[in-house]
Structure formats: structure tokens, C-alpha cells
Symmetry: C2
Amino acid sequence: MQFHGYFRSSSSYRCRIAFNLKGLNYDFVSVHLLKDGGQQKSEAYKAMNPQGLVPTLEVDGQVLTQSPAILEWLDETYPEPPLLPIEPFERARVRAFTQVIACEIHPLQNLRVLQFLKQNYDQDQEGVAVWCRRWIGDGLEACEALLVKQNGGADFCFGDTPGMADIYLMPQVFSAARFGVDMKSFSNINRIVENCSKLEAFELAHPSKQPDAEA
Amino acid sequence: MQFHGYFRSSSSYRCRIAFNLKGLNYDFVSVHLLKDGGQQKSEAYKAMNPQGLVPTLEVDGQVLTQSPAILEWLDETYPEPPLLPIEPFERARVRAFTQVIACEIHPLQNLRVLQFLKQNYDQDQEGVAVWCRRWIGDGLEACEALLVKQNGGADFCFGDTPGMADIYLMPQVFSAARFGVDMKSFSNINRIVENCSKLEAFELAHPSKQPDAEA
């Protein structure tokens, strides 16, 4: 498997955690989102991934894009340990949690969106941070509310083993810290983050531990 | 099944198409996103769906949120006709296509985001339309590129029967029209939209056909 990603990309970070939880090895290809005007916009990269976003997973001559699709594929293809529960209602609850992050928070803090705010609405770094804090804060508040209803004090988002929801939560909390989101009231999230941080699968997936990491 | 939605919401529209394709009946509960300061923000609604977004599906005392999770649940629980292929790589490709729409386009044109642009960046209706056209245009361009690579002239996004990708595409094209996105170059999308429009499952799911429809 060849994995094209970027150390700071949340969606790359999600996949790295999943690879580690499943015990899968892969070759990493760095796609620097800022160098050369954005290496993800190169003709060569876009021939493989027309959307010009990371990550991309190449496996057996097949090209997989979009981290949620990659993660579902990983779980279908390498079922142990499972990332989703078996019971359909439970699967739906876990997926809904991941989609609060993947569909409601993450797209709004995507690099191309932040560049648009700077160029078209004359926002400086602090203006961009206000935007990010708003959507990350709202989204994590919804995640916390879901945990209050459903978590019951478990070590991880949905039970006592890490799974799909934790895979989405950790990178989002990492980027919340970058933008200075106030996390004090999110006691379930904070407890789960602490528990995830103790696991090697999460620790080795951290942006700072990647070969392309920068300060 | 009790389905809480709004006629113009893309994610409600997706679910309606899926219900129709599966031949499932449901009770509809209208949640007006603009009336009463947004009925989705009411205490009663948020007790059920803490994120305060539509749609919500209530079934057998269970509450399901986030349309991608609802659609996966529907396909797992009512497998005929299937919305996803069986082969894992093919499933991943269909899901990636849906996520270009669900994760890259749709969140950016969400009502709360457009309200933020008006209030914080002083954008008028045309400014908001410029924003929407940019992200819908970029996203549909990526969808068209995926179809050029993968569709091979089939009637629907992935083959000769409608499925998950078509369920996401139709509502997105409906909203593209609202914001005046130039669709001329998207020949695969246009052909597929024409084919979907001929099917009762899609036609009856159209926003204009809903009990809460407005001009």
C-alpha cells in the first residue's frame, strides 16, 4: 500500500491511526500542501486524485480517495480489530459521530477555504482563527453532547476499545488546539483524548512523528 | 419510521430518494429551518438531535442523525435494492464520490455558514452566491472528473441502476441550479441527472413535491 498524505492533514492523520490499529504497513509519499504552490495541485497528483486533496491510498493498482471511504474499505478488508460495531443502530450512531467531524467541522477549516477567506474577505490570521474556532467549537460541542447522551463513562467514544469515532476525534482535537478552541467544558472528549494518547497506535500517528513533520 | 426534515435540505432530499428506491413508507415531520428563528434550534428538537440539524430519523425508539449514517443504515437494514456495490474497491469508489459532495461541497453551503458570511463578512445575497458557486462548481468539477475516469457512459453514476452516488448527486445539482452554477461542461453529470429525473423515486423526492414545499 502506498499512502499519499501530509503530516498536518486531519484526514491523513485519521488513516494513520487506522493503519496502526490494524497493524498494517504502508509506504508513505509526502504531498506538501504548501510547497510548489501545493503539490496536491500538480498534474501528476491530479491524474491520480482529480480532486487534488490528500489523502490517496494506492493498493493493488487501485486508487482510493476520501478518508471516510478509505477507512470503511480498511475495515471491510482488514476486519480485525473492528472499527465499527456489528449492530446496525450502533454502527449508525458511530458513523453519525464521525460525520459531525468529517461533514460539519473539517471541510470548513480546509486549507482552500481558509485561503478564500484571506483573499476574498480580507481576513488575517486572527480572522481565520475566529472562523475556525466557531465551527470547530460548535462541532465539538455537538460531539460532547452526543457523548453525554451515549458514552456512559466509557474509556473511548463508543465503549472500552478505540474505534472509528476515536479515529476522527483525535485529529480534530489536535487542530482545535492549533486554533485555540476552548476545550474546558468538553469533559468527555478530554477524558477520551487522554486515553487515546496513551496508545501507541495514536501516538505514532501524531503529526509531529511523521517523516514530513515541520515545527 | 418518523422522518424529521425540510423540503429544501439536500440531506433530507437524499434520504427521501433512498426511502423511495427501497419502497419504504415514513411519517414526515416538518422542521422549518427559517421559521421561529429555526425550528431545528428548539429545545425539543435539540433534545433529540443535539447538533440541531436536519434530518433526524426515529425508528423503533432509536434516533438516527447525519444523512450519510442514515443512508448506510437503510442499506444495511433494507438491502434490496442495494445502494452500494458488493466488491470493497467498488464500494470505496462510490463512497468517495458521495463524500466529495457530503464532505466537500454541502457543508460549505449550509445555512448557518451562509448566515455567518452575511453577518461577519458583510456579504449580500450575491456575495453568498459567489461563495456557493465556487465550492459547488469545484466539487461538481471533481465529480465530473471522477465520472470521466469511471463511468464509461453508464446511465447512472456507477452502472445501469441508480445507487448511493446518484442519491447524493441529484440534491447537489438541484442546489447548484439555485445558486446559478454553470453546468454546461459537466456532460456526464447532466446525462445522469436526466436519467434520474425520469424515475419516480427521484421525482417524488424533489423538494417541490414535499408537503412543506414553498415557492
